[in-house]
């Protein structure tokens, strides 16, 4: 990336749990924001702009809930909404804002309040095309299951693979004190859970989760030399068309090759000077609410060839790759939809800064966070590093 380096100097996260009836949305946000400011060693007066991320309004049941809970009078404020990728869009915009010289420091905040929705799945049903799909209800789960069938047919994946990935994520979450109610699950337990839409089982699908996350993002000149900082080495984004039917077998790649994620990765890697991500990056926080999304992400992120997808997953499950995936537990363990992509960046940043606590991994010099929104449409890749570029 050209221009003055930009880094994350403060991180704040609330615990992630099903609902928070004792807190208003603003109080939930304040927990994360206060933590991030304290971590950054700055007050609100240092903040030049506040960017808020909230995805579908319908999940919280309050239109523009961000305006009452995130916006700060006297500061420029923008609200972002790219579904599950919202948090990453907030960060990408902060980079542009700071790079354009409009502020030295931006506060990036994402809030999920879906604990207020009694019928979250019904809300998710409204994301689909009302004209062509009015009488044919797709769901996020059936969308994932449809892809799974292609993975089974073309690459020979089995239920064991999905269960293995899920098991690893849930087990990692036990070391993340922010995932309330985290419980390790064996692959057998995952496989024994009820089927939702074949072959996706209940224990592969993420739970309803609320929470807030905040980052303090600054240009290098506004960060004290000795302050633990995660520098942004690269940021790429690419969005795709909606129709899954039109993405089945097009020239750019099949539906299961996650073409926009691949493109976002290429952009970010080029900026970061990465040519061999499997060797140059120690931690991947992949936004994957379902195991199969994670399995498709590996080749898209350049960790293996598409044709080698299944053998690579075998190696991942055997712990042979030398790469740490989702030390936080990832989106399968906790998925506060609006905040998930920001949390992946936050967790990757904490790994690089050595501040990930019980789930800190050793020797993390570079980490990658991905974001995913819509029907695997909005795709983002963020490369974070401990070295100032």
């Amino acid at each position: 990336m050209s221009g003055e380096p930009i880094g994350i100097m403060g991180v704040g996260q609330t615990p992630y749990r099903r609902s928070n009836p004792e807190l208003s949305a603003g109080e939930l946000v304040k927990i994360a924001v206060d933590q991030a400011l304290a971590d950054a060693g700055v007050g609100m007066d240092a903040i030049g702009a506040v960017f808020g991320g909230v995805a579908p309004d319908a999940l919280a049941g309050i239109k523009d809930i961000d305006r009452m809970s995130i916006s700060v009078p006297g500061r420029p404020y923008l609200r972002f909404n790219t579904g599950g990728a919202t948090g990453a869009s907030v960060v990408a915009a902060a980079l542009a804002w700071i790079g354009a010289g409009r502020a030295d420091t931006v506060l990036a905040v994402a809030l999920e309040r879906m604990g207020q929705a009694s019928t979250a799945q019904a809300v998710f049903n409204t994301i689909f095309d009302p004209i062509y799909e009015k009488d044919f209800v797709l769901t996020t789960i059936t969308m994932a299951a449809l892809r799974a069938s292609m993975l089974v047919k073309r690459h020979g994946f089995t239920g064991q693979h999905w269960a293995g990935i899920a098991s690893r994520n849930f087990t990692n979450a036990v070391d993340n004190p922010l995932v309330i109610g985290a419980r390790a699950r064996t692959p057998e337990q995952v496989l024994a859970s009820p089927m939702l839409a074949w072959p996706i089982r209940r224990y592969e699908a993420c739970p309803t989760t609320e929470g807030a996350c905040a980052l303090v993002i600054s240009r290098a000149g506004a960060i004290p030399r000795s302050h633990p900082t995660s520098w942004i080495h690269g940021m790429g984004g690419s969005s795709d068309t909606y129709s899954m039917g039109e993405r089945m077998n097009r020239l750019e790649g099949t539906l299961i090759e996650m073409v926009p994620l691949r493109r976002a990765a290429e952009l970010a890697y080029r900026q970061a000077g990465i040519s061999d991500p499997g060797r140059e990056v120690q931690v991947f926080e992949i936004q994957a609410p379902f195991s199969i999304i994670e399995a498709m992400a590996y080749p898209a992120l350049g960790l293996c060839e598409v044709a080698q997808s299944r053998p690579f997953v075998d190696r991942v499950l055997a712990g042979e790759t030398g790469i740490e995936f989702n030390p936080s537990g990832g989106a399968q363990a906790a998925n506060p939809v609006s905040a998930t992509a920001l949390i992946r960046i936050a967790e990757a940043a904490q790994q690089v800064r050595g501040r990930a606590g019980p789930h800190q991994r050793d020797g993390v010099r570079r980490a990658i966070a991905t974001g995913q929104g819509g029907a695997t449409q909005f795709s983002t890749v963020c490369v974070l590093g401990g070295d100032r570029p």
């Binding site: 305006r67 404020y77 790079g99 809300v123």
Partner: protein, 370 residues
């Protein structure tokens, strides 16, 4: 911001219609964005990023830009979507260019009033405990502000009625001359006192698109550059801000003008958003283009102010601010047609408020190189 790094307008398009059954919402967007690309003399393949503004509840789609984003060109392309007024999206796109992230960005904003009920939808943004139970929505807030304005400037007396009537007539007359105005009447909602039907915007199916590009070095004659941008935010709580005018409009405009190095006296054309003529009058006063109490008179007699006819030519959130910007850009380029101001306008100021009756405002100064 250096002149070389600034963002410049390569093309604009506006479509204001009502309930055109031949086209779906994505098709309306495709049509307007295609027109903007044609205006810019480029194709979608030349665009690196799409930065758009739309609202899920207005579009009636739980995550609208899954389906509407690709209609604006988000096909294997960077996409940022704001749930904000369209002018805020333009501001962000300018930052994307100024920072060197992209060289060419397509900005789009839309709101199709005929598919839903924007006022009822707006009500969902207000505090569910203290405001929604009282039926508060954007229209009601316009009415409350209007009554506060009357109270401040002499009650429901006849004095202002004459000025208001002239302002309403002026808006309608300009809208008639505006080739881009919405020709079909929309819904006629019930109108809370002291508003009258003629005061309201013409509710429309609105789409606006602007192609922004990097303007490196001195440009060819006819280049419209963005030279100043301002943003300001007020408290969410209506009680804290209802009666104080529009301080965030004032602050945003001041910031944008300061950045552009211009005073109000240098501004040749102004486009401001406003759900009703009352809102436009208060906007004009807040910015300092009219003295307190003189907003209606200014709208009627100062030809610089909303030459497009403002929201009387057609409007729907969140496209409002981008529609206003497109009109201003056309004025600077001498291409506004029947509403073109004489005398080669050079500096434009655009100010627009976002959700919750303008809790935030964005202001943009654009200038024509001559």
């Amino acid at each position: 911001m250096s002149r070389e790094g600034a963002a410049a307008v390569a093309g604009v398009a506006v479509e204001l219609t009502t309930a055109d059954r031949t086209r779906s919402l994505p098709e309306l967007i495709f049509s307007c964005v295609s027109a903007a690309l044609a205006d810019a003399g480029c194709v979608m393949a030349d665009v690196e990023a799409v930065t758009c503004a739309c609202e899920d509840l207005i579009d009636g789609r739980g995550l609208s830009n899954m389906i509407t984003g690709p209609a604006a060109g988000a096909y294997l392309r960077d996409e940022t979507r704001l749930s904000e007024d369209g002018l805020a999206a333009l501001s962000l796109a300018a930052a994307q260019i100024e920072s060197g992230t992209f060289d060419r960005v397509l900005v789009a904003a839309w709101g199709r009033a005929a598919e839903g009920d924007p006022d009822r939808i707006s009500a969902q943004g207000y505090d569910p405990f203290t405001a929604q139970p009282l039926g508060l929505g954007d229209m009601a807030v316009s009415a409350l502000r209007a009554s506060a304005y009357l109270r401040r400037h002499g009650g429901p007396a006849a004095r202002h009625r004459a000025d208001r009537d002239r302002a309403v007539a002026a808006r309608q007359e300009r809208a008639k001359r505006n080739p881009r105005a919405n020709r079909l009447p929309g819904r006629s909602p019930s109108v809370p006192y002291p508003l009258r039907p003629a005061d309201l915007r013409v509710e429309s199916d609105a789409v606006a698109a602007v192609v922004l590009r990097r303007a490196a070095g001195p440009g060819p004659a006819g280049l419209v550059r963005i030279t100043g941008i301002g943003h300001a935010t007020e408290s969410f709580h209506l009680g804290d801000r209802l009666l104080s005018g529009l301080p965030s409009a004032r602050a945003a405009a001041r910031h944008a003008l300061t950045q552009a190095g211009r005073g109000l006296g240098a501004v040749d054309v102004v486009e401001v958003s406003g759900r009703t003529v009352w809102d436009e009058a208060q906007m004009v006063e807040s910015i300092g283009l009219a003295s307190p109490g003189e907003g209606f008179a200014a709208l009627a007699t100062d030809a610089r102010l909303n030459p497009s006819g403002g929201s009387a030519a057609g409007d729907c959130e969140p496209a409002s601010g981008l529609v206003r910007f497109a009109e201003a850009a056309l004025q600077l380029a001498g291409r506004a047609g029947g509403v073109q101001l004489a005398g080669m306008p050079r500096v434009a100021l655009v100010v627009s408020g976002a959700a919750l009756a303008g809790q935030t405002h964005t202001a943009v100064v654009a200038e024509h190189e001559r």
